[in-house]
């Protein structure tokens, strides 16, 4: 046996994990206020009526991290990051169509 620690317990975040507001903050490094802005901007769409009982699906984690990266690296604020992410989503959808057609 090597000394390599072995981790047998993993979960696939996108399929199996939901986050509360506090858990999403812990995992992404965001402040609660930033997450609230991302919900207002439509980047994140939690279930639940308010911050206290919000439940975020797994893909919310990479989206939150991406929004923070864009906002800080380009100094464009979270609303600016939200716009960039909308456009990136659109480009991704268009590229997928090209790929399916064998052009991309």
């Amino acid at each position: 046996m090597s000394q390599t620690p072995f981790s047998a317990t993993y979960v696939v975040v996108e399929d199996e994990v939901t986050f509360s507001l506090t858990q999403l903050c812990q995992a992404s490094g965001a402040e609660a206020e930033q997450v609230i802005v991302l919900v207002q901007e439509g980047v994140l769409t939690p279930r639940g009526s308010g911050p206290q009982d919000w439940q975020f699906q797994g893909p919310s984690l990479p989206r939150t991290r991406q929004a923070l990266r864009l906002a800080s690296d380009f100094e464009i604020g979270l609303p600016g990051a939200a716009l960039v992410m909308d456009l990136l989503d659109e480009i991704k959808a268009l590229r997928a169509r090209l790929r399916r057609g064998g052009i991309g």
């Binding site: 390599t4 696939v12 975040v13 506090t22 797994g58 864009l70 399916r100 064998g102």
Partner: protein
């Protein structure tokens, strides 16, 4: 350790104004930011650019860096002069969670201790930090599942308050059916907790290495499948590779280039599994010999009325 010329990284003069530095950074960020760039080395380049701007974009860090730079002579092995940073407070921009580990050894040696004094939010003060890393796997690994040993460079705070990087090996099971861009959460493998509090988690983003033949779209796989003109016209059974081994595929008679043939359930495994699509590419052999030329001539005679550009005539008028 190598001395890093941050001015060269941003492509600015040593005398550049803060505005010039910001402008140079913005331009490079738009080009190389991994979230928006298509450049193959985007991630690596953006790290260098981001690190350079982190220093040159902050007046205090820039002054400290210039000071060290004046004492450094090109070609030497770089060592930070002892006690060089005592006069600097670094009250400027904070580091984000886990951010310091993204930077080079050179950066760590100069500014590493800044991360250590970072203000923590009270409600996650004791709980270990969650860490993020990326693991690149082959498409075939996603079909079968795989074990990978990954090396993580983990920032650790030493007794002098400096952040140093420690290498850590971790065995990771890649589950069968994982999709490009998905994340694995490894409980308790993040930063250590303080005062008996639980450690943070490690999040691993899974990326696929670009495959020479297969394109991936979610759970579906695409393959360009070359077929000869007669296979497409007359129909044929051909052997087709999939990431999980070869299969026999029937090309129906009368197929045209671009036709997509679906291999149901041959995409990435899952419930339900994805599909694989073979996109036909009709190819013609070169006419290099007399026999080949006469075969093409016979074909031309047999299809005297065939106009491959018929569709252009209706639109060009």
């Amino acid at each position: 350790m190598e001395f890093k010329d941050y001015y060269a990284t941003l492509g600015v003069e040593r005398s550049a104004t803060p505005e010039e530095i910001k402008r140079a950074y913005r331009k490079l960020a738009r080009k190389y930011h991994p979230d928006v760039s298509k450049e193959s080395n985007a991630e690596e380049r953006f790290k260098e650019v981001g690190e350079a701007y982190k220093v040159l974009g902050d007046p205090e860090k820039r002054a400290a860096y210039d000071d060290v730079g004046r004492r450094y002579h090109g070609g030497q092995e770089f060592q930070p002069p002892p006690g060089w940073d005592s006069g600097f407070e670094f009250s400027g921009r904070d580091f984000g969670p886990g951010e310091a580990r993204e930077f080079s050894e050179f950066f760590q040696s100069l500014f590493g201790r800044v991360g250590a004094g970072r203000r923590e939010r009270a409600d996650r003060h004791l709980h270990g930090q969650d860490h993020h890393a990326r693991v690149v796997i082959e498409l075939e690994d996603a079909y079968r599942g795989a074990r990978r040993t990954i090396s993580l460079r983990v920032p650790t705070v030493d007794t002098q308050g400096h952040t140093i990087l420690q290498e850590r090996q971790l065995d990771v099971t890649i589950p069968k059916g994982i999709r490009e861009g998905q994340h694995l959460r490894l409980a308790g493998q993040g930063g250590p907790g303080e005062g008996g509090a639980p450690p943070g988690d490690l999040y691993l983003q899974v990326a696929f290495r670009t495959h020479p033949h297969f394109r991936v779209d979610g759970a579906d796989i695409y393959l360009d499948l070359p077929v000869s003109a007669w296979e497409a016209a007359l129909g044929a059974t051909v052997t087709v590779p999939t990431p999980d081994g070869q299969v026999q595929l029937t090309v129906p008679a009368g197929s045209a280039s671009g036709r997509r043939l679906r291999l149901r359930g041959k995409g990435l495994p899952g419930i339900p599994p994805g599909d694989m699509y073979a996109v036909l590419r009709v190819t013609a052999p070169p006419a290099e010999t007399a026999a080949a030329k006469s075969a093409y001539e016979a074909l031309a005679r047999a299809f005297a009325g065939f106009n491959p550009r018929q569709t252009l005539e209706t639109t060009s008028r």
